[in-house]
Symmetry: C2
Subunit: 246 residues, 2 copies
């Protein structure tokens, strides 16, 4: 039962020790060296063997517990979780998701303009009404077929966004590379029947079920960096969400 995993530490590295430990345990789990249900050595022993202190080991383990890879029980020990839970809780955009799934996404920019914010949008973005904001409308394709109609509002000046770059990359990717650090997103997901315009753009019949998502994304500081109102063809797309409770 003793997990005999080898962990190399590089004390001269700028990477924190607890992180090095966490990464290597995580790798061992991924590789199958630590099968689900197997017990880790206790914290004291681990600390001793690696020449680290117990708090450092605890920090590493805590990190993996938060990610949902390990389970701790007082008086029992630390175990690798049973079962294969999908661990994707990341803040991703549709574009990233599609490309990761090998779907070859494409984007048509229908409009991209700067205009004074209306009351509602201003409130959501946390700027005074009338402030210039960026509004864009995009049609997203996957595998040659229309998939979603995307409507976004952003505070202007956040990132230089041109129609050309929006056609080649996802919005999230562009924001991230402009140094915007997104951290929290609030999403409301619903459904409704397609109107005439939407139906035409998405190649669906009027009244076809559409999945709707209204999302506001906030950065580090809790400032809104993006607000979107999207509709997806329900016949071609569904959303996946993983919740982890601490």
């Amino acid at each position: 039962m003793t997990a005999n995993l080898a962990i190399d530490l590089d004390r001269s590295s700028p990477v924190p020790l607890y992180f090095q430990v966490a990464e290597q345990i995580s790798e061992a789990i991924r590789r199958g060296d630590l099968p689900p249900g197997s017990r880790l050595d206790n914290e004291i022993l681990l600390a001793d063997r690696l020449g680290l202190s117990r708090p450092t080991i605890r920090q590493a383990i805590q990190y993996l517990v938060d990610k949902g890879l390990l389970v701790r029980k007082r008086g029992v020990g630390t175990q690798v979780v049973h079962g294969q839970v999908k661990r994707s809780v990341e803040l991703t955009s549709l574009y990233d998701d599609l490309r990761r799934a090998g779907q070859e996404p494409a984007t048509r920019v229908l409009s991209l303009e700067s205009l004074p914010a209306e009351e509602e949008i201003a409130a959501v973005l946390g700027v005074p009404p009338g402030t210039e904001v960026l509004r864009m409308e995009r049609l997203r394709y996957a595998g040659g077929e229309p998939l979603a109609l995307l409507h976004n509002w952003l505070p202007s000046g956040l990132a230089p966004l041109a129609a050309e770059s929006l056609q080649e990359r996802g919005l999230y990717e562009l924001l991230r590379s402009a140094g915007v650090r997104m951290r929290v997103a609030n999403q409301r997901i619903g459904a409704r029947a397609a109107g005439a315009t939407e139906a035409r753009l998405l190649d669906e019949r009027r009244g076809a079920p559409l999945l709707t998502m209204v999302r506001t994304t906030y950065d580090d500081q809790g400032r809104a960096v993006e607000h979107g109102s999207h509709v997806y063809r329900a016949s071609h797309y569904s959303l996946e969400v993983t919740l982890i409770e601490r």
Copy 2:
């Protein structure tokens, strides 16, 4: 700028000190004593004033950072996040949500039986095919109107579930009070048009848009404790999800 908040500590309480601190800071934020953007005193000062050690204070702050209430920046300090992000990332059930919203939920149990698991359900629940599992079908009302059609499968023996108790309480609540500790949930959310049976039960027209959710919930150990396939009236309900990235 100095946050002059009073924090009472009860060292004789079984509640951990770091948690007492976290709770009271959280309360101060909720009350508005600590407005968004305001800076907390630095860790050393806080520790000193409360008569605690720095690690304890750090643990309290870290807890709130993870919950998305605070933001830390090295060299700068700790601030309350700007903006009012909804902070409900809990593992909740429809019943809890409705009752919290004051909607007076009701449930009609359409069926409740134990039967051998089919291939697909067995795979999802992680039991051998043919194992006895609990299957239930419920109709959920809010404010006197039908709202959702709920289909669930559970490993049998988890909790004693009777039709009567299911009519009065939510499934999650019953599971929790039976000692089941739910920790991770994987949800797939989509939409589709209502079929004839669904339409009749939900008081909608055929073809009306429905929101669909397929969810599997796992416990501490990563064992599946519940699998559900639900449809909601899109005209009356939408889902809200908050993502926090660490």
